[in-house]
Symmetry: C2
Subunit: 219 residues, 2 copies
DNA sequence: CAGTGGTCTAGACCACGCA
DNA sequence: GCGTGGTCTAGACCACTGG
């Protein structure tokens, strides 16, 4: 194991086991370098990684300290529906319901099927100004999300997750009783501050959930 | 700006703007060092950061490449209810409903209030073996989650998010109609592989949602 | 002011994996 | 083989900030 990994593992272990508690002061980079018999640059790299991972706080002149606990963020797995459904051993299918152009916006709705069951209802708006190629696409055979992933460069996104009773229209499309609890995922996506797409997916609450992990460790 | 940040910004900008597309090859560390007039170690640090952020892939002998897009994870903000409610300008209150010890497990249920409205029903199990101090705590005035944050060292956690219609008991506790759509957050927490606590929180769907951000950039 | 982290250099050696 | 990234060294200077 590299010095880098060894130093990180040693400190992370002390924090996890409780030997080091939040607020405790760590040795200086100089001391750690001497202890481990390596150069300060190597210690610096390890400490930077621990800092980046949120395990420690660092202050010039004062030193490095074990960070306070903060269970307030987790890595959410945003599902790629085709992948998710096939991983479950079922057949994925996209059925387009509508496609309308309204000025600079393209509106597409459709259903994501897991086998013969409608799992999610999607309504999407695509900003034609940012993704002009979308105008030439029918989205008849390919889901807009899949198509967009392959056609637009990097983006940032904001997700909102809620629980809502299905409306009459939503219930009918999904083949469930009105007012059944559904998980709503709304996602807005940007490319360098230009809006790309906004999507609302209504999932059958009885068939779908989301999972998120919180790992305070640096991978 | 440091060389490190300058190099990262240059490459990230090219990726974001679309000048560099997924799969494109980046210059070698040697070339980048020459281009920017700095040492290879500095380039290496910048590239390692871009790799860690998921923007590039690196293969020995082959070189570095712009990574494929993958919108499949996001940072979920797991709410600290007291903070969240006070940020909304309301008064937060915890009301314990029950506390029972069952062998090595401590079971606590209660309500999280936003002003006079019950926002969430919580049922929690605490592993006494991992957190013995919990036996001396009534959880009458302080929510178990808040208490645990201050009393246990670092943990990992798994979250599951679902939409479910409220059961009769849940509906009564929350003051809503049975079968109303609710957001369920289940969280299990560990300390170094030892279970700490499992909690199930039932949120009123009409009053609560969760937000997550996806940022492909390094911070 | 003195000690800390933050950054950088100009080398070096190694492991990997493509040609 | 040989170019690539991965890691490391033994220095150095600077910026910040706490005592």
């Amino acid at each position: 194991m590299s010095f880098d990994a060894r130093i990180r593992a040693a400190i992370e272990g002390d924090i996890r086991s409780g030997a080091l508690r939040p607020g405790d002061k760590l040795p200086s980079e100089h001391e750690l370098a001497a202890q481990h018999g390596c150069a300060r640059a190597t210690v610096s790299k390890a400490m930077a990684a621990l800092h980046h991972a949120g395990l420690i706080e660092r202050r010039r002149k004062a030193g490095s300290f074990v960070a306070d606990q903060h269970v307030h963020s987790a890595v959410l797995e945003v599902p790629d529906l085709a992948q998710l459904i096939e991983a479950r051993g079922h057949v994925y299918r996209w059925q387009r319901l509508s496609r309308e152009q309204d000025g600079a916006e393209l509106h597409v709705t459709g259903l994501h099927y897991e086998g013969d069951t409608a799992l999610a209802l999607e309504s999407r708006t695509i900003a034609v100004a940012t993704v002009p190629d979308a105008m030439d696409e029918s989205f008849d055979a390919i889901a807009p999300g899949t198509w967009l992933l392959a056609h637009i460069p990097w983006t940032s996104a904001r997700h909102r997750i809620r629980a809502v009773g299905a409306s009459a229209e939503e219930a009918q499309a999904l083949g469930i009783v009105e007012n059944t609890a559904c998980l709503i995922l709304e996602r807005s996506t940007w490319r360098a501050d230009a809006p790309v797409t906004t999507v609302r997916q209504v999932f059958r609450g009885d068939l779908f959930d989301m999972v998120a992990h919180f790992e305070p460790s640096p991978r």
